[in-house]
C-alpha cells in the first residue's frame, strides 16, 4: 500500500530525515518509535504533504501513485489521513460543516455520490457514540474550547467519519489519561481491517498495549535503525533507546 524509498527531508534547511525505507501492506499496523528529535513527526508530516517540510530525495508510492507530486488535499482524497499531534482550532465552523465539506470532497474525488443530510447526521451520531463523544460535538466549532483529550478523540472521530485507507497517528497518545487512551485505541481497532493500514508514531510503548502493531521500527537521527515485532516495543520500554543506538553504531548503520 505504502512504499517509502530513501526518503530525505529538510526542515528550515536542516536535514531531519536521512534516508527512510519502509514498506507497509494493507492490513498491517506499523509503529515508529524513537527518542525526541529523531524525526518521527517529520515523517508523518512529510507523508501528509505539509509544505513546511521539504523533501530533498527519495520516493513515496501510495497504491502505486507517487504522492510526493500531490498536494495535501489530493493525498487526503486518495485516502491518507493524519491524526494531528496538535489538532487545530477553527472558530465559527461547526464540526458538521467541516466534516460534511471534507467528506463530500473525498466522495466527489472518488466519483461516489454525496451523502444526504440525513445519512450524514446518522453517521455522525453513530461514530460519535463509538468514541463516547457528546452529540453536541456536531454543532460545536472545530476543536474550539476542547480539552486536550477531546481534541485527540475528535481526530479519531474524523478518521471514522472519513474512512481513509491509510492512517498516520502522530503522538495520538500524548496528553491522554488512561481512559481516553482506551477509547482512542478502541476507535482505531474498530477501524482496522484487512484493506487498510495504520502507522503509529509514538514516543511511549503504552499506546501499543492497546493498538497492537505488527511491526515496530526504531527511528534515530533520521533513519530506521532497527525493526522488530511488537516485543521490540516492550524491550525499548524496559531498556530505553541507548542499546539500539549502540547496536546500530556497531553495525555502522548510523
Amino acid at each position: 500500500m505504502l512504499a517509502i524509498k530513501n526518503l530525505h527531508a529538510n526542515v528550515e534547511g536542516k536535514e531531519i530525515l536521512k534516508g527512510i525505507n519502509l514498506l507497509i501492506n494493507a492490513g498491517e499496523v506499523h509503529a515508529i518509535m524513537g527518542p525526541n528529535g529523531s524525526g518521527k513527526s517529520t515523517l508523518a508530516n512529510v507523508l501528509a504533504g505539509n509544505s513546511s517540510y521539504e523533501v530533498t530525495e527519495g520516493e513515496v508510492y501510495f497504491d502505486g501513485k507517487n504522492i510526493l507530486e500531490m498536494n495535501p488535499e489530493t493525498r487526503a482524497r486518495e485516502g491518507i489521513f493524519l491524526a494531528f499531534q496538535y489538532p487545530i482550532e477553527i472558530a465559527g465552523i461547526s464540526n458538521a460543516t467541516f466534516l460534511k465539506t471534507a467528506l463530500n470532497e473525498i466522495k466527489r474525488y472518488k466519483g461516489e455520490p454525496e451523502l444526504t443530510p440525513k445519512e450524514f447526521l446518522d453517521r455522525m451520531k453513530a461514530k460519535a457514540q463509538i468514541l463516547g463523544l457528546d452529540e453536541t460535538l456536531i454543532s460545536r466549532y472545530v476543536n474550539v474550547g476542547f480539552s486536550g483529550g477531546e481534541k485527540k478523540r475528535n481526530e479519531i472521530f474524523q478518521m471514522l467519519m472519513l474512512e481513509p485507507k491509510f492512517v498516520l497517528l502522530d503522538e495520538t497518545d500524548s496528553g491522554l489519561d488512561i481512559d481516553a487512551l482506551k477509547i482512542v485505541s478502541s476507535g482505531v481497532n474498530i477501524y482496522r481491517n484487512k484493506d487498510n493500514a495504520v502507522l503509529v508514531v509514538t514516543h511511549y510503548q503504552r499506546l501499543l498495549n492497546y493498538i497492537q502493531p505488527d511491526f515496530v521500527h526504531v527511528l534515530f537521527n533520521g533513519k530506521i535503525i532497527k525493526t522488530g515485532g511488537k516485543e521490540l516495543a516492550l524491550e525499548l520500554e524496559d531498556k530505553g533507546y541507548d542499546w539500539v543506538k549502540d547496536e546500530a553504531l556497531e553495525t555502522q548503520n548510523v
Partner: protein, 492 residues
C-alpha cells in the same frame, strides 16, 4: 436537537453551493448599461443646486435647505484625519446629477426602461412583482434616481410608506420637514453637508405606530454613469412600537477613474421601536494596482429617541477603493439599545477606515459592537470606534469586540478605539484580537481533503460568523459569496 442538526447540515450544503459558484476573480458587476440618461454639466454652484431641485419639482423650502447646506459646505474643509490616502478630489470635476431619461411619472413597472430592468435582472434584483416570491419589497436607485419601488400597495394597507425620498418630499412634506436632517444636520460634516446640498434621491420609510413591517424592505443602489457622484439620502422613521428590517445593496461598473459616493442615512426610532439596517456594500474596489474604484464616504446615524428603542447596524463591506464610514447610534431614550456588527474586507490596494459611534445619553442604555476586519493583498483596514457615555447615562453599558485577520504579510490592520466616560456607573469593555490565517489551519483543512481556496473561505466565514448571524438569510448567503470572491487568490 434534531432540527438544529438538520439545519446545520442544510447550511453546509448551502455553503458548498456558494463555494461552487465562485469561479471568477473578476468583479462581476462591472458592466455598463447603455441607457439614455440625462446628466448635468460638471461642477457645483448654486445654479446646479437650483437645477437639481427644479428637476425634482421640489417645493421652495427644500431648495432653500439645499442652498443653506451648500453655503455652509463652501466654508468647510475636507477631513484629513482618516487613515486613508487618496489624491485631492476636485469637486468641480464631478457631475452632480444623472438620471435615466424616463416618462414623467411611472405608473407601473411596465413603463420602466427595459434596459434598466435588464440591468437589475443581471444584478439579481427582483423588480418584477409577478415574479417576486422572496417577499422583499425593493426600491432600486440607479445613478441617484429611484426607478422602481415594489410592493407599494401591500405596504400602504398597513400605513407603511416606502417610496423614493423625492416623492416623499412632495407627498409627505410634514414628515420630511420634521425628520430630515434631524439626526444628521446639514452642518454635520463635509460629505454629509455636500450630500444635503446635492442629494438626488434615495429611499424614505415610515412605519406608523404599532406596526410591524411584514416584509424586509430593500434598496439597491447602482452607479452607472461615468464621472457622476452618487449622493443618495435615506430616511427611516419607526414610530412607537414599530419594527422594520431594511436592507441595502450596492454595485457599480468598472471605471478607470474614481467615483465619489457620499450618502447620508438617518434612522429615527421612537419609544419601543426597532430598526434593523443591513448593508452589503460591493462598490467597484478598483483594480489590482489601485486604479479606479469608488470613494465611499458615507454618514450613517440612528437616533434611539424613545425609551426601549433599538437600532442595529449590520454591514458587510467588501467593495470600494476607500471606505470611510461610522454608522452610529445616539442612545437618547432610557433603556435604548444600539448594535453594530461589521465585516470589512480589504484586498489589493483597498483602504478602509470604518467603525461606529455609540453615544450613550439615556439611563441604562446598552450598546454592542462586533467588528471583524479582514485585510489581504496590500490593503489597509482600520477600525475606528467611539464610545461616549454622557454624564446622565446611569448604568450605561458597552461591549466592544474588535477582531482583525491578516492574510499575507503586505497588508495592515489598525484599531483606534476612543472611549469617553463621564458617568462613574458606566461599564465599558473593549476586546481586540489580531490573527493571521495560519498555514497550520490551511494544512489541517487540506489534510481533510479540502482545497486551499475552500479552506480560506471556511476560515474567513468562521471568523465572520457572529456578524453573518445578524444578517437576514438571503443577505447572509450573498455576503458569504462576496467574501469568497473578494478574497479569491489571496492565499496560497
Amino acid at each position: 436537537m434534531n432540527e438544529i442538526k438538520d439545519n446545520a447540515a442544510e447550511e453546509l450544503s448551502e455553503n458548498m453551493k456558494i463555494l461552487d459558484d465562485v469561479t471568477t476573480t473578476e468583479y462581476k458587476w462591472g458592466f455598463v448599461t447603455d441607457i439614455d440618461s440625462e446628466t448635468v454639466k460638471k461642477g457645483l454652484n448654486e445654479e446646479v443646486i437650483r437645477f437639481i431641485s427644479k428637476k425634482k419639482n421640489e417645493p421652495d423650502w427644500m431648495t432653500e435647505w439645499r442652498l443653506k447646506a451648500f453655503r455652509y459646505w463652501q466654508k468647510m474643509e475636507e477631513p484629513k484625519w482618516p487613515n486613508v490616502k487618496y489624491p485631492q478630489i476636485d469637486f468641480q470635476d464631478i457631475s452632480y446629477f444623472s438620471a435615466p431619461k424616463q416618462k414623467p411619472k411611472l405608473e407601473s413597472l411596465d413603463e420602466v426602461d427595459p434596459e434598466l430592468l435588464k440591468t437589475f435582472e443581471k444584478l439579481g434584483i427582483p423588480l418584477d412583482e409577478q415574479k417576486i416570491l422572496s417577499g422583499v419589497a425593493v426600491d432600486a436607485v440607479f445613478d441617484s434616481v429611484s426607478v422602481a419601488t415594489t410592493f407599494k400597495e401591500t405596504l400602504k394597507e398597513k400605513g407603511i410608506i416606502f417610496c423614493p425620498i423625492s416623492e416623499a418630499i412632495k407627498d409627505h412634506p410634514e414628515l420630511i420637514k420634521k425628520y430630515l436632517g434631524s439626526v444628521v444636520p446639514y452642518t454635520d460634516n463635509f460629505y454629509a453637508t455636500l450630500n444635503s446640498a446635492v442629494f438626488t434621491d434615495g429611499s424614505f420609510v415610515f412605519i406608523p405606530k404599532g406596526v410591524r413591517c411584514p416584509m424586509e424592505l430593500s434598496t439597491y443602489f447602482r452607479i452607472n454613469s461615468q464621472e457622476t457622484g452618487q449622493f443618495e439620502r435615506t430616511l427611516i422613521v419607526a414610530e412607537e412600537g414599530a419594527y422594520v428590517s431594511y436592507l441595502e445593496g450596492c454595485t457599480a461598473p468598472i471605471r478607470d477613474n474614481n467615483q465619489l459616493h457620499a450618502a447620508v442615512v438617518e434612522l429615527v426610532a421612537l419609544d419601543d421601536a426597532e430598526i434593523k439596517y443591513s448593508t452589503v456594500q460591493n462598490w467597484y474596489p478598483g483594480d489590482k494596482e489601485g486604479k479606479g474604484g469608488i470613494y465611499n464616504f458615507v454618514t450613517k446615524r440612528g437616533a434611539c429617541r424613545g425609551k426601549n428603542s433599538k437600532i442595529s447596524w449590520t454591514q458587510v463591506e467588501t467593495g470600494s477603493a476607500i471606505t470611510w464610514k461610522y454608522p452610529g447610534c445616539i442612545l437618547q431614550g432610557d433603556n435604548s439599545v444600539g448594535e453594530f456588527y461589521s465585516v470589512a474586507v480589504t484586498n489589493n490596494m483597498q483602504q478602509a477606515d470604518t467603525g461606529t459611534k455609540m453615544i450613550h445619553i439615556g439611563k441604562n442604555t446598552r450598546s454592542t459592537v462586533v467588528s471583524k476586519g479582514i485585510s489581504a493583498g496590500k490593503s489597509n483596514n482600520s477600525y475606528r470606534g467611539l464610545i461616549r457615555i454622557g454624564k446622565n447615562a446611569e448604568d450605561a453599558r458597552n461591549f466592544t469586540q474588535c477582531d482583525s485577520m491578516l492574510m499575507g504579510d503586505k497588508c495592515g490592520a489598525n484599531t483606534f478605539p476612543y472611549i469617553e466616560v463621564e458617568n462613574p456607573t458606566a461599564k465599558v469593555e473593549h476586546e481586540a484580537t489580531t490573527s493571521k490565517v495560519g498555514e497550520d489551519q490551511i494544512f489541517y483543512l487540506n489534510q481533510r481533503g479540502i482545497s486551499t481556496e475552500d479552506a480560506v473561505n471556511m476560515i474567513v466565514n468562521g471568523f465572520c460568523k457572529e456578524v453573518f448571524n445578524e444578517l437576514p438569510m438571503e443577505f447572509a448567503v450573498e455576503a458569504q459569496k462576496l467574501l469568497a470572491i473578494s478574497l479569491e487568490g489571496s492565499v496560497g
